[in-house]
């Protein structure tokens, strides 16, 4: 029952908010968003109590792998919702709104949450596909939120590339089904796993390749990542945080489900090789583009490509535990960074790295959070991503993937150097005069730049609501880096055991 409520409530609220249009009723919608987020978080929490059923029927079964992703999504969504409460208040005061446009934000967010939830809790590959495609459709309007040319371009690319990619994934799923032709298997992961020795490896191989390419497109694995930097940089920051922290995970989960089947059928080496190759290519592409990047939101987007590469690599080298831990760490850290980036965009009204400096002096709290997030995402101790990246390295080394691990280290260090230069250029330096203050002094009316939020109000206000969420994320990232609680370890071990390979 809880399972139905989990995706039913957001969907229902989404439909309700669809019928509450109009700028003046924005508050109502925002409140419904909060209610949806809180209810979802509470229900997810309820699932932790022993004795609560994790399966409803064949189509809705929450295994520990799905539960992990569900928890991340729910948690992230709650705090992003809190953040967006403050964020859009600021943004709405600043930009004249186009008619009949903005009200899609809340319903789409809620639909997205609902589709994400469904993704995590179905073991049926067909339904999984439906849910993942639904996340694409729900987020496309979110990316187009600002309704200017670049946002349109980003949204169109996102929608088309991901839809095509996901169509390929569907073909891959059918191929996997073809592998079991004759044995009467329905599309349940569990029945595939049970039936694994009878699966035709030829079909399974092609199926996995197609699924990897298809969901890999959506997950942002290079060279299929082209939509990702555009979408992440043009979407409003809370949306970017969700895209990076939750949406990419959904596609990753899709790949993991098929990996489960492959590894049960004895194709773990084959699948692992492919994952390693995709992972390393993603790391390479991310390293190159991060070095040359002039736009900090795109920089963060490429960092997502990097981390998706790490996840893929981690699974490929057989480090299930490390990769799943890294999913948590990356989601939280990237959520933190995008949320902080939202504040920076609102303040400086630019996405160029060169035009932002002295963050620490202009907005001390934001600056510190940004520094923490930056250090964490680059994988420096004592933050959580360091632990998981190190675990992946260790496991890969133990399993004998020396070349892959050496390249992994090389790319990580290149990224560390170039990214820290860019980020600390922004954080350090003298206090900079802010664009709106400058314009006001010159007596010029602030123009609505094609950027997120050109604030008309005085810039430096207290970012109360907006700082709370990043702060929570930062705290957790730090705590997890210092101490991994045993229940979490046990939970992750159980989830990674589903992937079929012993640690």
């Amino acid at each position: 029952m809880i399972l139905i409520l989990l995706f039913g409530i957001p969907a229902f609220l989404g439909v309700v908010t669809l019928f509450i249009p109009g700028e003046e009723r924005r508050r109502v919608r925002r409140r419904l968003l909060m209610i949806g987020a809180i209810l979802h978080a509470l229900l997810t929490l309820a699932l932790y109590f022993p004795g609560v059923s994790h399966s409803l029927n064949d189509y809705l079964v929450l295994d520990s792998l799905g539960f992990l992703f569900l928890s991340i999504t729910s948690f992230l969504f709650l705090f992003v919702a809190i953040y967006s409460f403050g964020y859009f208040q600021k943004e709405h005061h600043s930009i004249p709104t186009e008619k009949g446009v903005r009200h899609l934000y809340t319903p789409c967010m809620l639909f997205f949450l609902s589709a994400m939830t469904l993704t995590t809790m179905t073991p049926h590959l067909g339904l999984l596909w439906v849910a993942i495609e639904a996340t694409t459709l729900a987020t496309a309007p979110l990316i187009y939120y600002h309704h200017h040319a670049q946002a349109l371009e980003a949204a169109w690319k996102y929608l088309l590339i991901c839809s095509v990619g996901i169509a390929l994934a569907l073909l891959g799923i059918f191929f996997i089904a073809a592998a079991s032709k004759g044995s009467g298997t329905a599309l349940f992961v569990s029945s595939f796993v049970k039936n694994a020795p009878n699966l035709d490896p030829r079909w399974l191989r092609i199926g996995f390749i197609l699924v990897l390419v298809g969901f890999g497109t959506k997950m942002g694995l290079a060279p299929l990542h082209t939509w990702l930097p555009d979408a992440h940089s043009e979407a409003p920051s809370p949306v970017s945080a969700l895209l990076s922290g939750a949406l990419l995970n959904a596609a990753f989960l899709g790949i993991l489900r098929c990996y489960q089947i492959c590894s049960a059928a004895g194709l773990a080496d084959f699948a692992g090789k492919l994952l390693i190759i995709f992972g390393l290519v993603s790391l390479f592409v991310a390293a190159v583009f991060i070095t040359a990047q002039r736009d900090y939101k795109r920089l963060l987007a490429y960092s997502s490509v990097e981390h998706m590469g790490i996840l893929s690599l981690g699974i490929g080298v057989g480090s299930g535990f490390g990769s799943l831990l890294h999913v948590i760490n990356h989601s939280l850290t990237k959520g933190l960074l995008f949320l902080v980036a939202g504040q920076i965009v609102l303040t400086y009204r630019t996405k160029k790295i060169a035009e932002v400096q002295g963050l620490l002096k202009t907005l001390p709290a934001t600056g510190i959070l940004f520094a923490v997030g930056g250090l964490a995402i680059m994988g420096s101790p004592p933050f959580a991503p360091f632990i998981s990246e190190f675990l992946i390295l260790r496991d890969g080394w133990v399993h004998g993937h020396f070349i892959a691990m050496s390249l992994y280290l090389l790319f990580l260090s290149v990224i560390f150097v170039s990214m820290s230069k860019s980020l600390f250029d922004m954080i350090q330096g003298e206090k900079k005069e802010l664009p709106s203050a400058q314009r006001e002094r010159e007596g010029e009316a602030p123009m609505a730049l094609p950027l997120e939020g050109a604030t008309r109000a005085p810039i430096i206000e207290r970012y109360g609501l907006m700082t709370f969420s990043p702060f929570v994320f930062a705290l957790i990232v730090f705590l997890l880096g210092v101490y991994l609680p045993p229940p979490l370890v046990a939970f992750l071990k159980e989830a990674s055991s589903l992937l079929g390979r012993p640690l």
């Binding site: 495609e133 371009e153 949204a155 169109w156 088309l160 329905a186």
Partner: protein, 212 residues
């Protein structure tokens, strides 16, 4: 049934060769219709409630609703009729032929018991997927890209049809619904692209790049 499958491939060829958007959309509607009729002819067992519901659903969505949306955005955006291919239509047609040879020559590899469907369906599905790809990459207009996506999806559907004798209704309906909403959203975006850029040529969508 062979006739239907041959018809499905021929419609995708007409799309490859057509120089008008309207005929592309009409063909995609026809293809959807053929596709939704196919299971009715193939399986006597399909004549139950589940099968008929599925037929009605896929026919309404693939052959009626989606073409309707596409025509509407074509009309609202007042898009010019020409297809505007990247490479000449000759080349895409030859490419279509090559793709066809590829799909059919790999049939030994893809040998699969397809009963009750004719075995032609597997290469036909692969060819349709590949032609969809060809349409996607060889056309610049946003709306033709949507058409390409639909052809691709139709190919996937054709393939799926052979494999799953008992595709659960909810899932199949979910797939169709996703498709419908997807095309709906794409149609809206086509309208916006046209309004923002005065045409729907996706070559204008190249402002976003990494290094300025």
């Amino acid at each position: 049934m062979d006739w239907l499958i041959v018809g499905i491939i021929l419609t995708s060829f007409v799309m490859l060769g057509a120089s008008r958007l309207a005929s592309c959309i009409r063909m995609v509607a026809l293809q959807g219709a053929l596709l939704s009729i196919l299971p009715l002819l193939a399986k006597p067992s399909f004549w139950d409630f589940h099968g008929l519901l599925l037929f009605v659903g896929s026919f309404t969505i693939k052959a009626l609703a989606i073409p309707f949306f596409l025509f509407r955005s074509l009309k609202e955006a007042r898009i010019k009729q020409e297809v505007e291919p990247v490479v000449s239509l000759h080349m895409t047609l030859i490419g279509g032929g090559a793709v066809l040879v590829l799909a059919f020559s790999s049939f030994r590899f893809f040998a699969l018991p397809t009963a009750p469907f004719p075995s032609l369906i597997v290469p036909a599905a692969l060819a349709t997927v590949l032609i969809g790809f060809l349409l996607l990459i060889s056309r610049t207009k946003a709306i033709t890209q949507v058409v390409g996506f639909l052809v691709l999806e139709n190919g996937v559907f054709l393939f799926g049809m052979t494999l799953l004798s008992d595709f659960p209704l909810t899932v199949e309906m979910g797939v169709l619904l996703d498709l419908l909403v997807g095309v709906f959203v794409m149609g809206i975006m086509v309208y916006h692209i046209n309004r923002t850029f005065d045409h729907i040529d996706t070559t204008v969508l190249s402002k976003l790049r990494d290094i300025e």
